[in-house]
């Protein structure tokens, strides 16, 4: 709180206003008083107090009503009620209406000073929390922007020139081309990692939830496969897709669903041995759409299985590839935001199967008019953790 705290006392008894003023004199607060609820509320707007001390029992607007209106005007104001008839029930009622604390009459100057001091502390915390939250959101946005532009732009420029160099060295000695190939591959990894980080940081779960629309799972599957193809081809890994016709549909966000699949597919390629095979399948089972990505790679040790969806958990790939440790964590967040779940089964040495389960959307509805988000809430708890 910048400067001294502003305190407003609302009480119909002049003696209370006077004594409160007297008690707080010299404590370094700015003080305002009002002799009824209506004047008090006017001052809440004009004086913008940090703390409002309000008598519950007043003619005209009651303390309760004043409390309620303060909530509506500015819920961050710390309200303290004075209870004339020292009944716990009215104090409890006031606290339910959002009062921070209560002070039974009669009170001593020390009690009053103490409760004000605590209220001021509370107010500082409230304001600090708001400021920190805002800062966190800003940082998240800025970080995403910085990572995406400031970091990615130079990498893209480097890689673009590597591409050219590769063309120009097409007839150069094999070891030279091989070395350049390494540069290019690692640069591609780095670009991929930056992308994953940025998405991990900037994915806004609430935004996903509010942007759900009917999606044929075929679309994100195809986009994800297309995206993974470069890496897969580099490792000689083939990706086979089997999706029934017509494609099962879910209520989802196509962009982030694609992202979730890209991470899982990228992972499958990473843990596939050279020349391996990956199967991507979709099927409707009961009321769910199951999207499975199965690889026949190195697999995951049983001890590590529970940790694969944790952020920053990472294992080197079949060819020693390094990841950001964020991909699967991001995938899980996305899938859960869709009211679904993600599981993994694995046999070391034989491969892993990741299964995304999403609530199915009736496929034969007319056009793209899907039902509202209602089924999501029902199935959210079914999502395996």
């Amino acid at each position: 709180m910048e400067g001294s705290a502003r305190i407003l006392v609302v009480d119909d008894e002049e003696i209370v206003l006077d004594s409160c003023t007297e008690i707080l004199r010299g404590e370094g607060y700015q003080l305002a008083t009002a002799s009824d609820g209506a004047r008090g509320l006017a001052l809440v707007k004009a004086f913008r107090p940090d703390i409002v001390v309000v008598d519950l029992k007043m003619p005209g607007l009651s303390g309760f009503e004043v409390l309620e209106r303060i909530r509506e005007t500015d819920p961050t104001v710390v309200a303290i009620v004075i209870t004339g008839y020292a009944t716990v029930s009215s104090a409890v009622e006031a606290m339910k209406k959002g009062a921070y604390d209560f002070l039974p009459k009669p009170f001593t100057p020390e009690e009053f000073r103490l409760i004000i001091r605590r209220g001021v502390e509370k107010r500082s915390l409230v304001l600090e929390t708001i400021a920190l939250r805002r800062e966190r959101d800003l940082l998240r946005e800025h970080f995403a922007a910085i990572v995406s532009h400031e970091l990615k732009a130079p990498l893209a420029a480097i890689q673009q020139n590597v591409f050219v160099l590769e063309q120009q060295l097409a007839t150069a000695a094999p070891d030279l081309r091989e070395r350049l190939g390494r540069v290019k591959a690692r640069m591609a990894d780095l670009l991929q990692m930056v992308d994953t980080w940025r998405k991990g940081v900037s994915i806004d779960i609430d935004a996903i939830k509010t942007h759900l629309a009917p999606v044929s799972v075929r679309v994100p599957i195809d986009k994800a496969v297309e995206s993974a193809l470069v890496y897969a081809t580099r490792k000689g890994v083939t990706i086979e897709v089997a999706v029934p016709e017509p494609s099962p549909r879910v209520l989802g966000d196509q962009g982030t669903l694609t992202e979730a699949l890209v991470n899982i597919l990228g992972n499958a390629v990473k843990f596939s041995r050279d020349g391996g095979r990956i199967e991507v399948t979709a099927e409707v089972r009961d009321d769910d759409v199951r999207l499975a990505v199965a690889d026949h790679g190195v697999g995951i040790a049983p001890d590590d299985l529970p940790r694969v969806f944790e952020a920053f958990y990472t294992q080197p790939g079949a060819a020693g590839e390094r990841g950001s440790g964020l991909g699967l964590a991001v995938s899980r967040r996305i899938v859960e935001a869709h009211g679904g779940g993600i599981t993994v089964q694995s046999t070391p040495g034989q491969g892993s199967t990741f299964v995304i389960t999403l609530p199915a959307l009736g496929g034969d509805g007319p056009g793209a008019e899907g039902p509202e988000a209602e089924p999501l809430a029902a199935s959210a708890k079914d999502g395996p953790r």
Partner: protein, 140 residues
């Protein structure tokens, strides 16, 4: 190609431009570069071009978007094919070629992400130039 096609590149990153320019020059295109939208627009007005390769994040923000909007309002330049090359696809994620245009964005022909593989770049450039030709529109 009966005559060399003239391509305009507007991008504020000289190193990236050097990369794509080498690819385009190598494929026999005439390339011209502007490192900011203002110079780029002036150059487009001054001489006819067959295609514009446009960066999005320039200067203090998405100046490329403003640039593309301005082009679409220009009576002469509105039909100029535009290939957007952007660092961050998601910022304009709602825009995919051939689909309805995001209300806050601009109509444009194609969008590819940086860095761009030489073959992909040349393929897209070729396709856009061909599409412009078959439209039969004498490009600005």
């Amino acid at each position: 190609m009966s005559e060399r096609k003239r391509l305009m590149i507007i991008d504020d990153d000289p190193d990236f431009v050097a990369g794509i320019r080498a690819i385009l020059d190598g494929a026999g295109y005439d390339t011209e570069v502007a490192y900011n939208p203002k110079d780029g627009f002036a150059a487009l007005k001054a001489r006819p071009h067959d295609l514009l390769l446009l960066d999005i994040m320039m200067g203090r923000g998405a100046e490329g978007v403003m640039m593309a909007r301005k082009l679409r309002k220009d009576p002469v330049l509105k039909d100029l094919p535009v290939l957007i090359i952007t660092g961050i696809r998601e910022q304009i994620a709602f825009m995919f070629p051939g689909q309805a245009v995001h209300p806050n964005f601009v109509p444009l022909n194609e969008l590819i992400e940086k860095p761009v593989e030489p073959d992909l770049l040349l393929e897209r450039v070729r396709a856009l130039l061909k599409a412009a030709e078959t439209r039969g529109q004498p490009v600005a």
